[in-house]
Symmetry: C2
Subunit: 361 residues, 2 copies
C-alpha cells in the first residue's frame, strides 16, 4: 500500500432527520441501519481499509462522540481521532485534517469520506478511489466523485461536468455546482446528461487543499495556519480547542469547490445513497411483496403497504391499515408518520425537545 495515502472520515454529524432512530447522543453514522452487525461508520472504515493503510485513517468528529467512536472502533489509535470542540460544518474539519496530515507527511494525498452513506458496489468504489488518488497525486487538482443520478432528486447537490481530461477517462473538469435544485430544474439536469450528484467524497493532496484554502477561504486558512508548528505534536489538541471555535461555519463546497478553478469530477456508479431521509433508506432497502421494508425487526403487518418499520432492539410490531408510513421505534420515542411528510421530522424533533425535553431527542 502507498504509505503517502491517507483517509479522512468525517463523523461528527447530527442527523436529526432519522429521529427517533438517530438520537443526539447516537447519530446516524453510529447506527446499524441494515442489521449487518456494523454501523455505517464501521462499514465506511472497512470499505477504505483495503486502499489506505489503517494507520493512515483519520477520524474527525465532535468531542461528544469520542466515547462511541472508541467503542465502535477500538482498533483506531487515539492520535488518529481528531476531536472538534465545536460544531463547524465541513470546511474547518477538512482544513484541520489537512494541516494535521501535511505535518505528518508533506507528500500525503487524502481521500475524504462522509461516514454515514451507503455504498453497495465496493469494487467500483475501490477502483474509483485508486484512480482518483492517482489523478490528484499527479498534479494540483481537487477531485470529487459524481454519482450517476437515478431520478430528479431535489435533496442532493448537482455537479455539471465540462471538458474531459487527457489520459484520465471518466474524469472531467467541473463546469458548475448547484445545491438542491427545485424539481423542475432537477428534471432538466437529469435530461441533459451533464449533471451528477455530489457524493461528498473528495480527493486531493494535502498540499493542494491547503493551497486552495489559502486562495479561496483565507479566514479558515489563517486560523489553522497560525498553529503550523503544533500539528502532529502533543500540543495540537490544546491549540485546536483554543482556535477551532473561531472558525467560520462553512461547507467545503461553498468555501472551496464552487470557487476553485482546478476542480474535477470523476463520475461513478457506486450503488450510492446518502441515506439522508427515511425515504432514501426505504428506497435503498429490500421490500416485500406489499412494498414494506422491515428494518431490524419482527413485523406482523395486515393490509399495510409502502411502509417502513424500523426498531432498535428486539421487538415485534403488529400493524394494520398503514399505507406509506414510517414506524420507527427507539428507546423512549416512537414515530408513526406518513413517509411523504418526512421533511417535517426535523421540525418535530425541535418541538419534542421544546415540549418534553432533551431526553427524548
Amino acid at each position: 500500500m502507498n504509505s503517502h495515502r491517507y483517509c479522512v472520515i468525517m463523523c461528527g454529524g447530527v442527523g436529526s432527520r432519522f429521529w427517533p432512530f438517530s438520537r443526539n447522543d447516537r447519530p446516524k453514522q453510529f447506527l446499524d441501519f441494515f442489521g449487518t452487525g456494523k454501523s455505517l461508520l464501521q462499514l465506511t472504515v472497512d470499505r477504505i481499509s483495503s486502499i489506505v493503510n489503517p494507520e493512515n485513517i483519520i477520524l474527525v468528529t465532535n468531542r461528544q462522540y469520542a466515547g462511541i467512536i472508541r467503542e465502535q472502533l477500538p482498533e483506531v489509535k487515539e492520535s488518529n481521532i481528531l476531536l472538534e470542540p465545536a460544531r463547524r460544518n465541513t470546511a474547518p474539519c477538512i482544513c484541520w485534517a489537512a494541516n494535521h496530515i501535511h505535518a505528518l507527511d508533506p507528500q500525503a494525498s487524502i481521500v475524504t469520506l462522509p461516514s454515514d452513506h451507503l455504498v453497495l458496489k465496493e469494487k467500483e468504489f475501490e477502483k474509483a478511489i485508486r484512480e482518483g488518488l492517482d489523478f490528484v497525486e499527479s498534479g494540483d487538482r481537487l477531485l470529487t466523485l459524481g454519482i450517476n443520478p437515478t431520478g430528479p432528486n431535489t435533496g442532493y447537490g448537482y455537479i455539471q461536468q465540462g471538458a474531459p481530461t487527457k489520459g484520465y477517462p471518466g474524469i472531467k473538469k467541473v463546469k458548475s455546482f448547484t445545491e438542491k435544485p427545485d424539481l423542475e430544474m432537477a428534471k432538466v439536469f437529469l435530461e441533459s446528461g451533464e449533471f451528477f450528484w455530489n457524493s461528498g467524497i473528495f480527493l486531493w493532496s494535502a498540499d493542494s487543499i491547503l493551497k486552495a484554502f489559502e486562495k479561496y477561504d483565507a479566514e479558515t486558512s489563517n486560523i489553522f495556519a497560525s498553529g503550523a508548528e503544533v500539528y502532529g505534536t502533543p500540543d495540537e489538541a490544546k491549540f485546536i480547542d483554543s482556535i477551532f471555535p473561531n472558525a467560520p461555519s462553512i461547507s467545503i463546497d461553498y468555501a472551496i469547490m464552487e470557487k476553485a478553478d482546478n476542480v474535477f469530477v470523476k463520475t461513478v456508479d457506486l450503488g450510492w445513497s446518502d441515506l439522508g431521509t427515511w425515504n432514501a433508506l426505504y428506497a435503498a432497502s429490500p421490500r416485500n411483496a406489499e412494498g414494506n421494508v422491515t428494518q431490524n425487526c419482527k413485523v406482523l403487518a395486515t393490509d399495510c403497504s409502502g411502509s417502513m418499520f424500523a426498531v432498535n432492539g428486539d421487538k415485534i410490531i403488529v400493524a394494520a391499515g398503514l399505507k406509506d408510513y414510517i414506524v420507527a421505534d427507539n428507546g423512549n420515542a416512537l414515530l408513526i408518520y406518513p413517509i411523504a411528510d418526512e421533511q417535517k421530522i426535523r421540525q418535530i424533533v425541535n418541538e419534542v425537545k421544546a415540549r418534553f425535553g432533551e431526553d427524548y431527542v
Copy 2:
C-alpha cells in the same frame, strides 16, 4: 365492621385482548391503566376495604401470579391468597373460596368481585354492596349486581329482571340470563327497560352458594366437598393441588346463576365498565378535542382523531394521520391497529406466539 362479611377477589384472569399492554406474566388486573399509581387490582382492594375487614379479603389467583400479588399487595396475609394450580374459569374458583371461608366462619356472607373492572362511583358501590349483603344475610338468596345499560353493547351478558322483592327496593327476582346477544337483540333488550348488564359482582352467604353448588353443579361441589376437613388448615394447598385440575372449566353463570331459582338482581349505576376491550377503555377515558385518548404517555399528534395512545413507561409518541387507531406500546411489542378491528387482537396474540414465541405475548 361486621366480622362475618368476606370478600373474594378473582384475579387469575389472562386478558389477552389488551395485548401488548397486558402480557402473559402481567395481565390486565395488574396494570395501572389510568396512570393513578394503582393497578386495577389494587383499586379493587381499596374499594372493598371500607366495607369488609381487610383480614377477610381473600384473593384467588393462578399460582403464576403469586409473585406479582405479593408485590402489589404486600399487606395481604399469605393465608388469604388462594393459588389455583390450573386455569378453570369462575365456578371452581368460587366453589373453593366458599368452602375455604365456610370452614373459617360458617355464618360468613361473601361478596365476590372481579379484579379488573372500572367503578367510578365508589359511594354507590359501597351502598349497593352493603344493601346487597343485608339482603343475602337475611335468606337463602343469590344476588348479582345489574348495571343500567348505556347502549346495545354485544360484549356483555344481560340479566332480565322480574318481580320486585318486598322490603328491598331496587332488588328484583331474575327472569333470565342471556350471554352476549347479537346487536338486534341487544337493541330490543335496551328498549324494553327490563334488561341489565351482568357486572360479575355476586353476593351470597357461604352456606347458600355451597347449597347451590350441591344442587346445580354436583360435579364441582363433590370435588371440593371431598376435602371438607382440610379447609383452613395447613393441608389445604396440597389438597387443592391434587383435586383442582379435575374440576370442570365452567363459569359461575352457567353452573349456577342461569339455573338456580333463588337468583336476584340489584340494579345499580356504578360508573362501571368491564374494560374488556381497548374500545371499552377508550370509552371510559377522558378525550381531548380531537377525540384522542392518551394513556400514561406523552403524545404529539397531528391530524389524528378517535385514537387511543397507550404506553407502558416513559415514552413519547409522535404520530400523524391516524383515525380511530389503537397505538399501544409495551416492552418488546407495539400494536398499531384500527380500533374497529380490536376483536382480532386475541387471534393476533396467538399468531405472534406461534410465529415469534412466548416472549412477545
